[in-house]
Symmetry: C2
Subunit: 437 residues, 2 copies
């Protein structure tokens, strides 16, 4: 019966697409997941393992034996092995690495030394190379022979004897050119590439910009040491977008080590900004406190504090969102001066402020029957939104130009700055007209 | 001299990568841009035109003659033509379409009928097909012949006589299989595909999920009518991410028609939420107004309104950001019940609330020397953050499950809800302990 199970499982399981195999595997109970170790050969499970996300891989790591995990590595792309090992502690890494053969271990150890999120840490080795004198006929034959094992066969990279990148030819070109020509005759020599130390996001943007399906990674002397492919790039862009989103919401940058997900893990990532903002909020509190005399005379003024701060915050967040997207999509604003941006954003804010101020003024005039208060609030909103829109749009651009850590431009920070501006304007105007109220 | 200019420009310009040609073109003055119409042949400019973003294309449309624009179309991918036409008014579209030959016009008109952002509206026609009985040798020959004009030559799609999709074989497979085998022998029959009416984002996610470089588009009877390629998918994901970002910041969904960018265009997209929030803010104002007696006794309470609302807003925004990313990346939470999510988020909020509440309580106790007020504010923050974290995380998930327009879950909306919750808790607690202050 056990052998039957074995065969039945294999028959059913191996017919599925690897992504669906993954979903099925995750749905199993741990004791049944453990059995998969006996049911599937390392080369069969390796493919599935490569497709899993970090949390799922960590789960497999908990259930499976280290020995089985180590046997998977030779069947995996080296960038995926390195990525997986990145989620483990140094002791766990060493334990598994010690089970590998010497040259596998050496290659992996070398890649683990690249900085996390550098191009070197995400590149893989599955590509085809040729020499300048290689004929088109020979190149096509080389590609045919590599096609079974190599990830990227749609480009052939032309290297000299030292391994330095001289050019690239696409499989498409090889197919249409006369077989007797050499790679030197047909190759493109102006090749987009990245250095091993360059941030992975730059590699991704470059590939996207030139509509490539792979981009070569070179070392300091322009030797080709790896390749980043379009499917890696989509994962990288996904990751970077999530980082943008988190930064925008004031969540700390997730280190690749942190796969943990529980209450404490999540709270720890989100804590820093919340606490910083409490301190910044104390400035608002002092500001309001300094207008205590005004407030004492017209307590109703307090009722509009949230409207003023929320409107300022929202307008700032909107212009911040647009600015963050522009920056992260690499839309430089070189053609437009900071001055022009500033003026445009000021006018946008003024239009929004005029609309919002008129509406709020009207409501207050009708509901509270207090025209003076209505005008004061309306004008406060007009001025506040004009300024806070500029703050939201310009601060991230400035920070980016000055090469300061853009985390400072995260949403909650901008919101708090705009709160202060709004409160100051509101209470200053209110204090001026208090004798009329 | 004029001819010299002509030749010199062509020599310099045509040597550049098309993306760099675009940057150079944009840097020219309009009167010089106009000259490019005479300097470059339609097939040369068409490639460059395809790479431009909507605003740049619109700029070319303003400068160039309609006749020249129309001559570009036969050299462009049909999806790019359709996309460009989508930015024009109906009259402008018709004017250009009338300059085309009948069958080009018909094909484009058919595609213009697809809903904006549907798979049908972004697909292109550049792919290779074969029949089940086609041999591998013949298929390779077909690909070789198509390689010059066809965008995607790395897959061959196997259709029956009616054009219904039966399978797919990769160029990689063709290269390693015996030339005498037929496509039927080697093709994969379980092909990932999308229907013409399906949202482009679903096509993009499917391609990403299965690591494909193209995904076929089928009509209602499974006839293959087009293809979406990986470079289109990267643009689609970029577009969808920008939409998520905007939604998150309360900016209205940008219609593909709106390429305009000026002060009015921007303000109009951002206006709706700002005005809605003014009305919602009036609820906060009334709530605070209803605690006027409490406020009158201790005006200092007003000073902490921004801290309470900002903290509630930020915590809600953080959990919203995480939820929005999970939903848009297609991470369904089927395996985890709403109940479990709710509990986890509550505890995360409680941890954050405990930390923030303790810090704020301590500061207030020290700076204002008022222990009772300190305790009241600390407890308010604890309760508020526990609840607002749940609100930020659960509302978008619920809305997604109920298939309501997720725009309702945008950042400013969640922030305002959380403001109300925070203010209510804060003033309720303050009112209870007012006699102790």
């Amino acid at each position: 019966a056990k052998n039957n199970n074995h065969a039945a499982f294999r028959k059913l399981f191996l017919r599925l697409h690897v992504k669906d195999q993954g979903d099925l595997f995750q749905a199993l109970y741990p004791q049944n997941q453990k059995k998969v170790e006996q049911f599937l050969e390392p080369d069969e499970f390796a493919e599935l393992f490569e497709w899993m996300d970090p949390l799922e891989q960590k789960n497999v790591y908990e259930v499976f034996s280290d020995t089985y995990i180590a046997t998977l590595f030779p069947y995996m792309e080296v960038d995926n092995v390195v990525k997986f090992l990145g989620y483990l502690t140094h002791e766990e890494q060493n334990k598994i690495l010690s089970l590998l053969e010497a040259d596998d271990r050496e290659e992996i150890t070398k890649m683990l030394l690249f900085k996390s999120e550098s191009s070197g840490s995400v590149m893989n080795k599955g590509y085809v190379t040729g020499l300048e004198k290689t004929t088109v006929r020979q190149a096509l034959e080389d590609i045919r022979e590599s096609a079974k094992d190599v990830e990227m066969i749609y480009y052939i990279y032309v290297l000299d004897e030292e391994g330095i990148l001289k050019g690239v030819a696409s499989l498409r070109d090889l197919m249409v050119k006369p077989p007797s020509q050499t790679l030197e005759d047909i190759m493109i020599t102006q090749v987009a590439f990245v250095n091993v130390d360059i941030d992975q996001e730059i590699a991704a943007r470059l590939l996207q910009k030139y509509n490539l399906i792979a981009i070569p990674v070179l070392d300091a002397v322009k030797k080709m040491v790896g390749l980043i492919t379009v499917d890696d790039v989509m994962d990288i862009l996904e990751e970077e977008t999530t980082e943008d989103f988190n930064e925008f919401a004031g969540i700390s940058r997730k280190k690749s080590k942190d796969v943990e997900d529980g209450v404490w893990g999540v709270a720890r990532m989100r804590m820093p900004w919340i606490i910083i903002l409490i301190f910044m909020g104390m400035i608002s509190a002092s500001l309001i406190g300094s207008f205590e005399t005004t407030l004492n005379e017209v307590v109703l003024l307090a009722a509009f504090i949230p409207i003023i701060t929320d409107a300022a915050g929202n307008v700032g967040t909107q212009s911040l969102a647009v600015a963050v997207r522009k920056i992260s999509m690499g839309e430089t604003s070189s053609s437009r001066s900071i001055g022009r941006i500033l003026l445009q954003e000021f006018f946008v804010g003024a239009v929004l402020g005029l609309a919002a101020g008129s509406v709020l003024g009207l409501i207050v005039a009708i509901f509270y029957g207090n025209t003076i208060l209505a005008i004061a609030i309306g004008i406060s909103l007009l001025i506040t939104l004009s300024i806070s829109n500029v703050v939201g749009a310009v601060i991230p651009v400035l920070i980016n130009k000055l090469n300061i850590d853009p985390a400072v431009a995260s949403g909650p920070f901008i919101t708090t700055i705009n709160d202060l501006i709004g409160l100051f304007i509101y209470f200053s105007i209110a204090t001026q007209i208090i004798h009329l109220l």
